[in-house]
Symmetry: C2
Subunit: 114 residues, 2 copies
Amino acid sequence: MNDGFALLPKPPYYAVIFSSQRNASDEEGYGATAQRMVELAREQPGFLGVESTRGADGFGITVAYWENEESILAWRRHAEHTAARERGRSDWYDHFELRIARVERAYGWDRDSR
Amino acid sequence: MNDGFALLPKPPYYAVIFSSQRNASDEEGYGATAQRMVELAREQPGFLGVESTRGADGFGITVAYWENEESILAWRRHAEHTAARERGRSDWYDHFELRIARVERAYGWDRDSR
């Protein structure tokens, strides 16, 4: 089921919380790169899942989940990801914040599973 | 500047990552309660900030930041918040996931501050 939610193991694991303000430029190029980055991230060792959304005002939050800090650092060093981040700063974002956190507890609820 | 980004101290602090799928019901009641919960959270000891967005598909992510786990637990026990969570399950959400994480590192970038 591809419904936006990441299917994750039990904690602990790591979260990279990326909040960003898009400008109005280059929707096509941005969208293609964002999609490519998700596909590429899924191939990386230690990747667990990702959740992402953006409102009509261009403010978005993406949370990527990883097994450990090593996998986050390796993804950070990935050449294609590095190039995409450069495009983010030069072209696509007005502002972003990145927070790296260790998930300690998790809880979920689904209407169909009550 | 109220631009969607939380202005946070240096880590460590805690993040409550709430991802949710809204159903199509009661946009007015949901919106009023969501706004009230943000106002109320801002008054709680240990509250640091919140970022939130939801896409046109109804999938949303809210990340609330707190000084420590004690402040998260106290907010969880708050009576009005507890009642709002009940409405969430009975009326507003089809699915949600909650993850509690300790933020260890943070980094930001702003086009105007380069």
